[in-house]
Symmetry: C2
Subunit: 345 residues, 2 copies
DNA sequence: TTTAGCACTCACGAGCGAAGAGTGCTAATC
DNA sequence: GATTAGCACTCTTCGCTCGTGAGTGCTAAA
C-alpha cells in the first residue's frame, strides 16, 4: 500500500470518526494537505474500495471505512505512537489525591473506571486484579452451620475474599481454628496461586496433626474463586452514538453487557499479555460485540496484582484519544496497585 | 366515580397495556362484557378525559391512560387482590432447589433478581439486606500498613463486611487482636446496629484494659457502612419497549440507573414500610424516573435481615402480572433470608 | 498521471391526495 | 333521560411523485 492512498485512507477515517457520515471525495480533497482534485481522490477511493478498506452504503453515497481500514489505522497508530506529553509528576500527584479519597482499592478502581468513561464517552469495564498472585496474610475458618464453613482469605494488599464451603459435617470451631492457624503459619506471605498448586507438597511437617478431612478443608479453603466480577460503568453512553440509535442493535449490545461469562472470557483473551490491545468490530464476534471496538489494557505487573481495564464503543471510535486515555488510566491503576502493595506489605 | 365508567377505564388500561397504541371507542365496545355502543363509550371516555384519567395524543386519535388512571387501576388491584393460587409447598421446594445451587446468600439474591427480570421483561433492582439488624459473630482487626487497619465483620448469617480504617498510627497486631477479642467477647450475638448505638454504655467492665485509641478503633470498627450497593439486572430489557425506542428518553433512564445515590434513596423511600409499593410515572420524579413505574417490595422481616427488591418498567407495565411476580420473588427471598438465619444461628 | 467535465444514480425531503381510524355532535330511539 | 345511529370533521399515516443535491464512474484532454 503506497503512502498516498494510505494518507487518503487515514483522512477519510479521521473525517468519518468526527461526522459519522459517509465521506465524499470533495471533502477529502479540501482536507488533504497536498492539493489533489476530487477526481484523483475518487480513483484512489475506488481502489481502496476494491481492496476492502472502504465500503459504500449505496452506489451514489460516500465511502465508509471498513473494519479492515480501522485495523490499518490502529496498527499505524501503535507503530508510530505520538510522543505523549506525559507529565509523570502531575499524574503522580493526581493519583495521590485520588488515593486519599478512596481508602479501599476497590473504590479506587471503580472511581478510575468512572472517570475514564466520562472522558471517553465509552462504556468502561474493569476486571479487578486477580487475587491469585497476591500474598496470603490470614486465613479464617468459621463454622456457620452444621454443614457450612465460611472461609475468609485476607491478602497482604488488604483484599478480603470469602466463600462458603459446603461440608458433610462441620468440625467444631476449635478444630477449624487449629486448621486455620496451621494454614496461616505455613503459607502466610506466599502467593495464593502457588500455595494452591502445590498444596500437598508444601504441607508436610505439621500434616500429621491434621485429619484427612482437615486437609481437604484446607485445600478447598485456598481455592481461588472463579474469575472475578466485571464492573461495567457508563453503559448509558452508548445511547449517544448514531450507530446505536436503532434500538435493536443497542439491545444486542446491552444483552452482552449482562452476559458476565462473555465479558470474563473477553478479558481473559485481552489480558493474556501485558499492554494495550485493540479489537475492532468483527474481531469481537466471539464475545457478541461485532458492532463495537474494544480497547483493553492490563494494569499492575505480572506476578503482582494483574487486572484489566477496557473501553467499549462503536467501531467509529476516536482511537487516538481513547488510546491515550486508557493508557493514562492504566498507569494510574498501576500506581494504585503498587501503592497498595507497598503500603500493604 | 360510578362503576361503569370505572369498568370502561380498566378495560382501556388493559387494552393499552397489551398494545401500547391509543385505544379507540369501538375496540372497547367490542371488548366489554356488557353490550354498549361505541357512541356511549365515547361519551364516557370524554368524561374520563375531563377528569384527567385519559389523554389524547392528538384530537382525532384514541385515548391513552394517564398516570392518574394507572394509580386508580393499581389501587383497585391492591384493594381487591386476586385470590392468588399460591402453591406454598411447590414454592418451598423450588426454593430448596435454588438454595442448593447458591451457597452464598449474595448469589441467591442475584439469581432470584435475574429470574424475576427474565419473567417480567423489566429491569430488576436488588437491595441486599442491611447488615445492621443481623447479629455479630466475629470481629477481626488486621493492620495492613502503618496507617491502616482492615476491619472484618462477620455476621451470624455468614455475611462478611470489610472496610479499611485510616489511623494516625496503627497499634501492633497483638493489641489489635486484643481489641478484637474484647469486642467479640462482649458483643457477639448482639445486633450490630444496637451495639453501635450504645457502644460506650455497653463497654464497661473490660474497658479499663483498653486505651482511648483502642476504644476509638473499636467504635469505628462497628460502624455500619453506608447503604449497600444496589444490584441492577436486565437493563437491556427496556430497549424492547416502544416507549423507549426514542434514544433520548432511553439515555435519561439509563443515566439514572448508574446514579447509585438516586437508586439508594429510591430504595430508602420504598422500603420504609414492609410490603409492596407501586410508584407510577411522575411519582418517581424525585429519582429521575418519571417515565417509568417502579414496583418495590421488601423481603425478610423487620428486625432480621430486611432488604428490598424492585422492578422498573414503562408506566404501561402489566401490573397484575408484575405484582404477582414480585410477590413470589419477595416470598422466595424471605424464605432465603430465614433459611440463612436459621442455618447460621 | 492528473484533472476537468459530464452523465448517471440514488437517498432525502417536500408536497399531495386517498385511506382510515377516531372523534364530537345531533337527532332519533327505547 | 340514557342510549344509539348517523354524519361531518379532524388528523395521522402511507404511498406516490418529483425536484434537489451529493456523490459516483467514465472519458477525454492536459
Amino acid at each position: 500500500m503506497e503512502s498516498r492512498s494510505e494518507q487518503i485512507l487515514n483522512t477519510i477515517i479521521d473525517h468519518y470518526i468526527q461526522t459519522a457520515e459517509p465521506v465524499g471525495s470533495r471533502s477529502i480533497s479540501k482536507k488533504l494537505p497536498v492539493s489533489l482534485s476530487a477526481a484523483t481522490i475518487r480513483n484512489v477511493m475506488s481502489d481502496l474500495t476494491d481492496s476492502g478498506f472502504l465500503s459504500q452504503p449505496h452506489t451514489s453515497a460516500g465511502r465508509v471505512p471498513t473494519d479492515l481500514a480501522y485495523r490499518h489505522y490502529v496498527d499505524r497508530l501503535q507503530a508510530n505512537p505520538t510522543p505523549e506529553l506525559v507529565d509523570l509528576e502531575a499524574e503522580e500527584e493526581q493519583f495521590a489525591e485520588l488515593a486519599k479519597r478512596c481508602p479501599r482499592l476497590e473504590d479506587l478502581l471503580q472511581e478510575t473506571a468512572n472517570e475514564l468513561t466520562q472522558a471517553t464517552h465509552c462504556v468502561g469495564m474493569l476486571l479487578p486484579p486477580r487475587s491469585g498472585p497476591s500474598r496470603l496474610k490470614k486465613v479464617e475458618l468459621l463454622g456457620i452451620s452444621q454443614t457450612q464453613v465460611l472461609v475468609i482469605l485476607v491478602t497482604q494488599t488488604g483484599m478480603v475474599k470469602n466463600r462458603i464451603l459446603p461440608l458433610k459435617e462441620c468440625p467444631p470451631q476449635e478444630d477449624l481454628d487449629k486448621i486455620a492457624g496451621i494454614l496461616c503459619g505455613q503459607f502466610a506471605g506466599q502467593s495464593i496461586e502457588e500455595i494452591h498448586l502445590n498444596f500437598l507438597e508444601r504441607l508436610t511437617d505439621d500434616a500429621k496433626e491434621l485429619s484427612a478431612q482437615a486437609i481437604r478443608i484446607g485445600k478447598k479453603a485456598l481455592e481461588i474463586e472463579a474469575a472475578g466480577e466485571v464492573y461495567v460503568s457508563g453503559s448509558a453512553n452508548l445511547c449517544e452514538y448514531p450507530e446505536f440509535f436503532d434500538h435493536h442493535s443497542l439491545y444486542k449490545v446491552y444483552r452482552q453487557f449482562e452476559n458476565k461469562e462473555a465479558l470474563a472470557s473477553m478479558f481473559e483473551a485481552l489480558t493474556k499479555t501485558e499492554g494495550l490491545h485493540v479489537q475492532i468490530g468483527g474481531e469481537n464476534r466471539a464475545f457478541g460485540l461485532e458492532s463495537c471496538s474494544v480497547l483493553a489494557s492490563t494494569y499492575g505487573t505480572q506476578g503482582a496484582l494483574l487486572g484489566g481495564i477496557a473501553l467499549v464503543g462503536p467501531t467509529r471510535i476516536d482511537y487516538p484519544k481513547v488510546i491515550e486515555a486508557i493508557g493514562r488510566s492504566s498507569r494510574k491503576l498501576s500506581y494504585a496497585v503498587n501503592h497498595f502493595l507497598i503500603e500493604g506489605r
